[in-house]
Subunit: 388 residues, 2 copies
Amino acid sequence: MNATPTVTVIGDGQLARMMHTEAIELGVNLRLLAGARDSSAGQVIADVVLGDYRNLDDLRKVAEGVVTFDHEHVPTEHLHALIDDGIAVHPGPEALVNAQDKLVMREKLQEIGAPVPPFAGIQSVADADAFWDSVDGEVCLKATRGGYDGHGVWFPKSKEELEGLVEKLLGENVPLMGEQKVPFVRELSALVARRPSGEVRPWRVVESVQRDGICVEAIAPAPGMDAGLADYCQSLAVKIADELGVTGVLAVELFEYLDEDGMPQVAVNELAMRPHNTGHWTQDGCVTSQFEQHLRAVQDWPLGDVDQTAPVTVMANVLGGDEDPELPMAQRVREVMERYPQVKVHLYGKTYRAGRKIGHVNVSGQSVVKTREIARSAAHFLVTAQWL
Amino acid sequence: MNATPTVTVIGDGQLARMMHTEAIELGVNLRLLAGARDSSAGQVIADVVLGDYRNLDDLRKVAEGVVTFDHEHVPTEHLHALIDDGIAVHPGPEALVNAQDKLVMREKLQEIGAPVPPFAGIQSVADADAFWDSVDGEVCLKATRGGYDGHGVWFPKSKEELEGLVEKLLGENVPLMGEQKVPFVRELSALVARRPSGEVRPWRVVESVQRDGICVEAIAPAPGMDAGLADYCQSLAVKIADELGVTGVLAVELFEYLDEDGMPQVAVNELAMRPHNTGHWTQDGCVTSQFEQHLRAVQDWPLGDVDQTAPVTVMANVLGGDEDPELPMAQRVREVMERYPQVKVHLYGKTYRAGRKIGHVNVSGQSVVKTREIARSAAHFLVTAQWL
Ligand SMILES: Nc1ncnc2c1ncn2[C@@H]1O[C@H](COP(=O)(O)OP(=O)(O)O)[C@@H](O)[C@H]1O
Ligand SMILES: Nc1ncnc2c1ncn2[C@@H]1O[C@H](COP(=O)(O)OP(=O)(O)O)[C@@H](O)[C@H]1O
Ligand SMILES: [Mg+2]
Ligand SMILES: [Mg+2]
């Protein structure tokens, strides 16, 4: 008996697409629940079932082998129903809720002793006012659920602005929380993969460069990082994966800030339980990519080596700009390849739209400055058809 | 306009399958002409047309964008017909015939001054006898067309054996040639990619370890190779690609032998015009894999860097043995991953059959001996479910 193992992925975006790349090589059948055949993943995968991830019947129809996700939006009760049917779901609903609900996550992290900024749930304007006072007006207001790429995060400049926002959002039934606004010097990301049977492997900590709440670059490893702090970040990510029972890839987004003594410290921002934008560099800079590792982990297969294959690898996102240049994308790709034979281009088969992640580039090299320059230049050209 | 570029691949084996892996990331739509949906490539590709590569109507039905191949068996006249229809075919029929017919190839290589062993076409037993005498009985008899993995190659030990073989094969209409049997010390492989507009990039020369006419291992770069000879092999491969007008990946299989002065020399064995088994190591040991490079080359896109990402990378084939072990393949993969987290497993979705290529492993490392040991051990376990 040589039955091909199957992993069912719920969600049809670029993460599922890039999982397929690795599934092909591993000899794993990747089965997809897609909203549309022409979605990013639906275009390239053979075994596609069309359906809605919010519909339990569709989930039941597609589920085969191990079930995992391209996003965190599957309702918890459906995941429990699948598990009751005897299906393996990774990550499981108890872990996943910490990636779905930022308030639940904050409470859980506090409970296990992970560093988090001061926070509070906000159910009323009075709650908001009290929180404002407690953090001296350094407020970051967040939707606890449904946010992404900075949608769902606000920085009110005055108490009045906060009150107005809270009133409006609560009126729209947006569940809210407040956090202290962290005066971070940069953002980091600590990725690990964990198997149901317990093995955990952390990748090197990377710097995640954000613009307007969207990740634009990741630099691996995070340049100039204090070695002790880097170790701490890795062990923190391992601890979170263990204590929350995460299976598959876990991304721990971190703030690096300076404490009163001017020493670098970290606090957790949020968690993602799937391959993450800040891990795309592993496709071209690491022995085992996050997509392969995720497929291994959710099947409880032994994890692969996470050694880097170059001194530095930089990922730069290709984010749709205000307008799609006339020069066709394939022609832009050719020009980038002409100028930079070392650039690895990854495209998601998505149409151009402002702010939309339509691809990324990975570049490996010896020096952070030079490698970053090339990655930025290539990504910029793919977006604008102009050289920086 | 952001129309997705399409590459149509004729042939549904593992080479097409591994091209899809790269096509996904490049944002290239890979369209496949497959004999069966459950073929190695047909299993994993979304855009599949079922049909027969020997049937011109099927070829016309599937052809979109640039047409390329997973094997060299498409009839030349059909390729000309497609070109007459206005379709780009890479490699083109004039080049490809040199990978289809070993006698045509030998004549062409001799014409351009590439080193080849003495050879002759064999149309009769008398031809065979004359050839036997001309090379002092050091005869390698070959089918000029249709051979693979050592099927179609014979080493007769006596003139009588040769005569018997030739009589039998000519009776079966097998077109034949004779070559001098080269007393090689090892086999090498020089891969290059070439674009229609002329750019050519050679990879490092690798050692190709054969057993019973089948490639079992490739070691990149070829260990202990004379630097001058390695350069010569690369420039020879470039010259062949240029002079034959090859587009896409070209593999030049070489014999390394010692001349009368005991100096290492090379002679060409045969050519393949597609990604080649001796180039699989590039998936995990090189900035640009042969599958990505092939897709770039056939579309006339700029070629990628061919730098190695590790001091040595060893590929070992997973070749079906006499019987399929009881332990399921997925379980064998787990055990290999458990023991060797650095091993990259590639499986083709094929059923087990004696001598059949069902997958390969790639391992990168510092030392040839150690890396080779791991690759062999892993491949052996995947075949036998036993540790060496
Ligand atoms: N407490 C905070 N203090 C300062 N900046 C923050 C805080 N929380 C979020 N941000 C900024 O907003 C970005 C998006 O917030 P995040 O909670 O990660 O939302 P999303 O789900 O959209 O990624 C972060 O990457 C960071 O740049
Ligand atoms: N002239 C020769 N002298 C010695 N060995 C040869 C010769 N030709 C082929 N061989 C051996 O047979 C193997 C298969 O021959 P080849 O022509 O490459 O056929 P195939 O198309 O099956 O790969 C070679 O890899 C080599 O080991
Ligand atoms: Mg975030
Ligand atoms: Mg051969």
